[in-house]
Every structure is written in C-alpha cells, then in structure tokens.
C-alpha cells in the first residue's frame, strides 16, 4: 500500500477511475464517427441520436461490466455540482458560439474568413471541448484525440480530403484506441464478488 498520499492525489485517482476503462473514449469515437456519417448521409439527427443513445448505453455497460471489477464510488453533492457546473458552462459557451455563427450566417453578415475556414473553426471548437475534458480529467490521450479531430479539418482545407472523411477517420482511430483500453482494462481487472 502506498503511504503519504495527498488528498489532491486521491481526488485525481478517483477522477481517473472514470476514464481508465476506455468507455468514454469509445463514446467520443462513435460520436465523432456519427458526425462524419451524418454529413455523408445528410442525416442531421444522427449525432444527437448517437450522443443520447450512447450516453445511456455507457452507464448500462459501466454497471454490468466495470463496477463488478473496480467497485463503485460517488462524489459528494458539492463535487457533483462543481462538475456539472463546469460542463454546463462549457455547453453554454459552445452553444453561444454556435448561435452567433448561425445568426451571422442568417443575416448574411458572416465574415469572409468564417466562410472560408468554417471546417477549421468547427473542428477547432470540438477539439477545444475535448482538450477541456483532457485537462479536467487529466487524461492525456484525450489531447491526442483533440489533435486528430483538428487534423480532419486541416486535411480537408489543404489536402482536399472530404470533411466527413476527417471525422470518420478521427472517430475510427479514437474508437479503436478506446476498444484497446477497454480490452487492457478487462484483462487487468477480473470480476470480484465480495466475501460474505
């Protein structure tokens, strides 16, 4: 057993338990993949459906597959409020930018640079959100995912790769990494039943 551990370190470890199984990587990978498929097939509702469906599926898998292996812990109400507040602020900021772009587009007052570099701006915002998660949860591989998402737009702008293929490629890679992390996790932690 390790001794002399600080409270901050313990808090960090508890945060990390939520990401060590790779399920949130799989969630992100499928969501990004969903964006690509939505653009490819013109199914605008696909990202929303993917997001909601996956979110509930993840909690189901956590309950059946993850908790019997590493146990379950719940943060205090104060911590949960703080975490929720962070994501609400992040969501509102992204929505605000989205609404501003939509309004500028709608009234025909969009700046030319925005029209020219829209994929870069869009992927940049998505990458910034993923960076925020990486920073907040201290999961470094999420920075790599942010770079992959941003590269999709770079390849589109300067190498002529179709925008949707950038999403599909990045989503596919993130999904594979997530599956790899999940396999490692399942092999590392066997199911345990409490002794009576």
């Amino acid at each position: 057993m390790e001794e002399g551990i600080s409270l901050k370190e313990i808090q960090r470890r508890v945060y990390m338990t939520f990401f060590q199984d790779g399920l949130w990587d799989i969630f992100l990978g499928l969501f990004i993949l969903g964006w690509g498929l939505a653009i490819l097939t013109d199914l605008a509702y696909l990202p929303g459906v993917t997001f909601i469906g996956l979110y509930f599926a993840i909690w189901g898998v956590k309950k059946r597959l993850i908790y019997p292996r590493i146990g379950y812990a719940r943060f205090s109400m104060t911590s949960r409020r703080r975490i929720t507040a962070r994501f609400v602020i992040l969501g509102l900021a992204v929505m605000l930018v989205g609404v501003m772009v939509a309004v500028l587009w709608g009234i025909g007052a969009r700046p030319q640079w925005l029209a020219d570099y829209f994929p870069l701006v869009f992927n940049g915002i998505l990458a910034a959100v993923v960076c925020f998660i990486a920073y907040w949860a201290r999961v470094n591989r999420f920075y790599v995912y942010a770079v992959l998402i941003f590269l999709g737009a770079v390849f589109h702008m300067w190498l002529g790769v179709r925008w949707e293929f950038g999403f599909i490629g990045a989503g596919g890679i993130i999904l594979l990494i997530g599956l790899g992390v999940l396999v490692i996790f399942l092999r590392k932690y066997a199911k345990m039943v409490e002794e009576a």
């Binding site: 409270l7 313990i10 379950y72 812990a73 109400m77």
Partner: protein
C-alpha cells in the same frame, strides 16, 4: 463516542498539537480509507479494496475499527445473491478528519526550519 486521542496533562502543554492527533486516523491504512471517504460521498467495499491495495481481511479490520469509533457507517445489502457493502463517513468521522488535518498542519508548521 470518545475520540482516540491522548488526554493532555499540564506537563504536556508544549506538545499540545502532537497530542491532539487522532491516533485512530493517524495509522496509514486508516488515514487512506478516511481520505478516500472524505473525497467521495459513498464507496463500496470493492472500490476501496482496489484503490488502497489492501487485502480483504485488512480492509475489513480497519473499516470495523473506524465503524466502532463511529467514523464510518457500513450498509450491507444483497444484489441478487451477492453481498454488497457500501461505506460512508459519518458526520463525526467528517469532523474528526477535518480536525486531524488541522492538527497535522499545525504540528508540521510548528517545526523549526533548517
């Protein structure tokens, strides 16, 4: 319930912060358990087992001591046919840990610098 601390006599006045340290929490394994339960609202037995790296027996013994002192409460239930124990700090445990942190800080702050 009574705190696990040394009663201070007049001759111990100079060592007051040291003597006030709760020895039940000061034991590394129990400190670790209290710290985890301080960070999370509730945890199950398996979570604490995985996080602390203790054995079943060890963890059970330390939790029993903390429960006897009134610092934690353990709720046992059955999920299907499997036993499941959830553990949380009591208010007394929370206060004791806060006090422990304060006392430890004072003790360390009082040490002369080199």
């Amino acid at each position: 319930m009574r705190r696990h601390e040394i009663v201070i006599s007049n001759s111990d006045e100079g060592q007051e912060p040291v003597n006030k340290i709760d020895r039940l929490i000061h034991e590394p394994s129990r400190y670790m358990l209290m710290a985890y339960l301080y960070v999370v609202e509730v945890a199950d037995f398996l979570f604490l087992l995985r996080q602390t790296g203790m054995t079943w027996g060890n963890l059970s013994t330390h939790l029993s001591k903390l429960e006897t002192a009134g610092y934690v409460v353990m709720e046992k239930e059955f999920l299907g046919k499997k036993p499941h124990t959830t553990i949380r700090l009591t208010e007394q445990g929370w206060n004791a840990f806060e006090e422990y942190r304060g006392n430890m800080k004072r003790v360390l702050d009082n040490l002369p610098s080199k």
